[in-house]
């Protein structure tokens, strides 16, 4: 019985991934839009969580998103680069930015690193405003008509990208990479004495994280068809990426994905349910988030693990939960 249950559990992520991609072919615009939002949020929160798991707290995911958006949009308007080329270019430019950020921040940790990422995002936003000839400045850029693709193709691209990012994080969690991340988060200086080269891992982590988000930014740009500095470097991206990870369960593989789904569900539910009353939907959204984070310190995934463990072990689990809490 147990064996069957656990192999079933293992198949769930793959089935969900397939379902997400399949949903793009369903002809229901509202559902498609939700799934696209979920796909994008899965990518940014998986990326945010990957960095956080190595102790690199990002307040600048908007920088990666914006750089990817602009790279693909500028290449599209100037060179006529289509969607797939734009996404590849965005991932490459994003990864490069990640490497540069890793080199520039050196050994900075915690809040000091976080502030650098925040400055990067804000600096890039201001730069795009200041360079109207290259970036279209505050008036923005429009995607050329000829390059637009059917919406279904975009939904598929978003879903596939999300599945790739989620799969990458699952794979990384099984390799020595995850040990490097955890060791660096706990004590980077001690990890060095065990032969770990922190700069190499920082560059790898930032390149992967930034590349993911930049790719998502490019796909999202094609979806919107328009780009200006405030859209590209929106603080919203940064905030949602961390809220999804924290609500879902930080430092876990499933957490950011669960969190992304929960955030989109919550924001849409409050918008649809309470949208008629001015501000009520945002208030409800905020209250639920605060309560969620207050009462589920290990996130939705942590809660689910506790409940599942409780179901299997029955009453005997109470002690374990207590020790778990003591940690």
């Amino acid at each position: 019985m147990r064996m069957q249950a656990s192999s079933l559990l293992r198949a769930i992520p793959a089935l969900l991934g397939l379902a997400l991609i399949a949903s793009a072919f369903v002809d229901m615009p509202q559902v498609n839009d939700w799934m696209f939002q979920i796909s994008m949020l899965i990518i940014v929160s998986v990326s945010w969580n990957l960095m956080a798991s190595a102790g690199l707290v990002s307040l600048g995911h908007a920088a990666f998103w914006g750089v990817g958006s602009y790279a693909s949009m500028i290449a599209a308007t100037r060179l006529g680069l289509p969607l797939v080329g734009g996404v590849v270019l965005a991932v490459a430019v994003g990864a490069l930015l990640g490497c540069v950020l890793a080199l520039a921040t050196g050994r900075l940790r915690g809040i000091f690193f976080a502030i650098c990422t925040l400055a990067l995002a804000e600096g890039l936003r201001v730069t795009t405003v200041m360079l109207p000839d290259q970036t279209g400045g505050a008036s923005g850029l429009y995607l050329p008509q000829a390059l637009q693709v059917p919406r279904t193709a975009l939904f598929v691209a978003g879903a596939v990208a999300a599945v790739i990012c989620a799969a990458a994080s699952v794979w990384l969690a099984r390799t020595s990479f995850s040990y490097a991340c955890r060791a660096m988060r706990n004590n980077e200086s001690a990890a060095q004495m065990l032969g770990l080269d922190p700069l190499r891992y920082r560059m790898a982590i930032l390149a992967i994280s930034a590349g993911m988000v930049a790719g998502a930014g490019a796909i999202s740009t094609w979806y919107g068809g328009y780009l200006d500095p405030d859209v590209a470097f929106s603080m919203h991206i940064t905030i949602e990426s961390q809220i999804a990870s924290i609500l879902g369960g930080m430092y876990t593989v499933a957490g950011p994905i669960v969190g992304a789904i929960a955030i989109v569900a919550l924001s849409e539910a409050t918008r649809l349910g309470l949208g008629a009353h001015e501000g009520a939907s945002q208030l409800a959204y905020g209250v639920v988030l605060v309560l969620g984070i207050l009462f589920m310190p290990r996130g939705l995934y942590g809660l689910w693990c506790d409940l599942w463990a409780g179901r299997i072990a029955g009453a005997g689990k109470a002690d374990d939960t207590a020790t778990e809490m003591a940690r």
Binding site: T175, N186, M193
Partner: protein, 245 residues
Amino acid sequence: MLELRNLSKQFGGLRAIWDLSFTVRKGDFLGVIGPNGAGKTTLLNLITGYLKPSSGSILFEGNPVQSLPPFRICRLGIARTFQVVRPFGEMSVEDNVLAAALFSASERIGVAEGRARARSPLELTGLWPIRDQLAGTLTIAGKKKLELARALAVRPRLLLLDEVMGGLSGPEVTEIVEVLERIHATGTTILMIEHLVEIILKLTSRVVVLNFGEKLFEGTPQEVVEHPAVIESYLGRPLEAAQAS
């Protein structure tokens, strides 16, 4: 194996290490003692690349290593423990040691191979039964043992120990002494900083005494404990002698 030549480290006007030279030969079990603030931990930080010397050089197996970062030092075959323990608190005891085995390996090894290599250090240090416990929840003695287990997982040729016995109870000290004897017998060279004089007497073949960053004396453990200058550096001069001078 390890040679220090005229090594100095200044922090502003403070001479933490001053013109220090000594050699650790292959197979040595060298003790480094000295009163608090003598520069013992600074010495280890210099050897392992956490600090850059102000002048002088450090040679490991004939090659200068004083400008290398810690992770390169580790890959040359030098491991250390930290006096102020630095466990990966959110990882299990086993994963701590496993991480050490993974990153110090000269070739790329997988997690399964790392886990296999972590077993013997865990068993040697007596941590095997509690390998699933989170490292952050260990007692100070447990964390000291974990420091040693992690250093052993590096499979070093030169092992630097910074007060690895501190905080351990009597029986635990005996246990670790046996472990160190066994490790030394397998051909690992050990440099040990230790305050417990009976441990130094029991384990080491040679002792370097530091005082105010300088080498005060070097000799066999027996010579060291009988040397007047060493006694003076620890206990001060006898009152009558101080008055007479």
